[in-house]
Amino acid sequence: KDKSAASKDSTPEGAAERQEDGAETPKQQLLDIIGNMKVEVSYRKKLQKLKASENKKQAMNKLEGPDSEGSVPQGITENTQRDKPLNPELVKAASAVASSLPHDKKQAESELLAQLRRHEETTDKLKKGETVNIRNVISEMTVKRQSSAQWGAKLSGRISLQFDEDGQRIRPERSSAQSMDSRRSLKVGKRLNIFTKASTEPEHALKTVSSPTIWDLEFAKEVAAVTAQPPRNGFEEMIQWTKEGILWEFPIDNEVGMEDDAEFHEHIFLEKHLEGFPKEGPIRHFMELVICGLSKNPYLSVKQKVEHIEWFQKYFEEKKELLQEI
C-alpha cells in the first residue's frame, strides 16, 4: 500500500515534468512512457488489493458460519484468546487469500490472522453477552423528522419567552414531543440489560461453589495489598480515610450508626414489658416510675430500654428471698 501511495504521489510530479519538458529527447519520452506504465500497474495492483480484501471478507463470513458452532465448546471455559488456537480451516483460508495478494504475502497473512483473532474475540464476547452490540441499540432508534415549521416554532419559542397572564411560560412544544414518543412505545424491543443486572442464573451457580480456600484468601490479600497504592494526593487520602471510617461523610448525616427502626409507640408504651413483676407493691410502683422515665428518654434505643427493664427484673428475682423476709 505504501508503494502504491508513493507511486500515486509521483504521478502528479511526473505529469508536471511531462508538461514542462515539451520537446524532449526520445529517451525521456521512453522513460515517461515507462513511468506511465508503472502508474497504471500500481493502480491495477490497488484494484486487485481491494478485490482481494472483499474476497477475504466474503470468505471469512462464509467460514464464520460453520466455525462459530465449532468454537462454542472451546470458548466457554476461559477468556484468554492468545492461548486458544485459531481454527485450522480459517488459517488455511487466510494463507490462501494472502498468497493471492500481489506482494508482501507474509505481512498480509499476519494481518489477516490478527483480524481473525479479533473477530473470534468479538464473537466470544457476544456469546457470553458481555458487550452491548451497538446494532441492537441503534436498531430501535429512529431519526426524528421534524418539519421546518416546527423547528422554526421551537427556535422562536426559545428566543422569546411567552408569558401567560399568571406569568407562567407557555409550552406548546411539550405535547407534540410526547405524541411523537408515544408512537414508539418504550417496552418494545429486546432488553439490553445496560442498567439492570443480568439474569440471576449465574449467581445461583456461584452459590453452589464451596467457600474459598485459605490459599484463595491469601492470594486475595496479596492482590489487595499490591493494588492498594499510597494516595497520590489529598483527595485520595480523604477517600481512604472515609472508607476506613476516620472521616465522616459529607453532608453530615446526624443519624449515622443509629438505625432506630422502631415506631414511637414502642418507645412510649412500655407497660407490656412489666409482665414479670408483681402487680402490687413498692416494686411495681418503682418500675412504673422507671418506665415513665424511659418513655421520656429520646437518647436510648428501644433495645436499650428493654435491656434496662430486664436487668431490673433479673435483679429483683435474685433478691426474692430477701424480699419475702420483709
Binding site: V209, P212, K221, E244, P282, W311, L322
Partner: protein, 128 residues
C-alpha cells in the same frame, strides 16, 4: 465462575485487611498518670449502666430500706476505678491536671501557645 468467587474474596479481604494487617500501632501516652486516667475512663464506661441502675435503687423512697442497704453493698463491691468521680480531665497534650479548659481539652499554656500561632480556629486575642 471462579473469577466471581475471587472477586467476592477480594472484597472481603479488603475489608478484613485493616484489622489483620499488623500496622505498628505502639503509641505512648504522655505519662503514666495519663495512662491510668485512660484506664479509669474505660472502666467507668463499662460499668456505667450497672452503676446507674444500682444507684436508682439506692436513691429511692419507695423501695424498702433493706433492699437499699443491699444495693449499697453491691455498689461498693464494684471495682474502684469504675466510678466516674475518679476521672480527671487532664490536658490532652501535656497531661496537666489543672488549668484545663473543657472545650478544647487543653491546658492553659498549650492553648495560649496555639492561639498565638493562629492554630486555633476562631480564637482571637481579646481587646475591648
Amino acid at each position: 465462575m471462579a473469577e466471581a468467587a475471587l472477586c467476592w474474596v477480594l472484597r472481603a479481604a479488603r475489608q478484613v485487611l485493616p484489622l489483620s494487617c499488623p500496622r505498628q500501632v505502639r503509641s505512648y501516652y504522655v505519662d503514666w498518670r495519663m495512662l491510668r486516667d485512660v484506664k479509669r475512663r474505660k472502666m467507668a464506661y463499662e460499668h456505667a449502666d450497672e452503676r446507674l441502675r444500682i444507684n436508682a435503687i439506692r436513691k429511692n423512697s419507695i423501695l424498702p430500706k433493706e433492699l437499699q442497704e443491699v444495693a449499697d453493698k453491691e455498689i461498693a463491691a464494684l471495682p474502684r476505678d469504675s466510678c466516674p468521680v475518679r476521672i480527671r480531665n487532664r490536658c490532652v497534650l501535656t497531661s496537666r491536671p489543672r488549668g484545663v479548659k473543657r472545650r478544647w481539652r487543653l491546658s492553659r499554656i498549650v492553648f495560649r501557645h496555639f492561639a498565638d500561632h493562629a492554630q486555633m480556629s476562631g480564637v482571637q486575642r481579646a481587646m475591648w
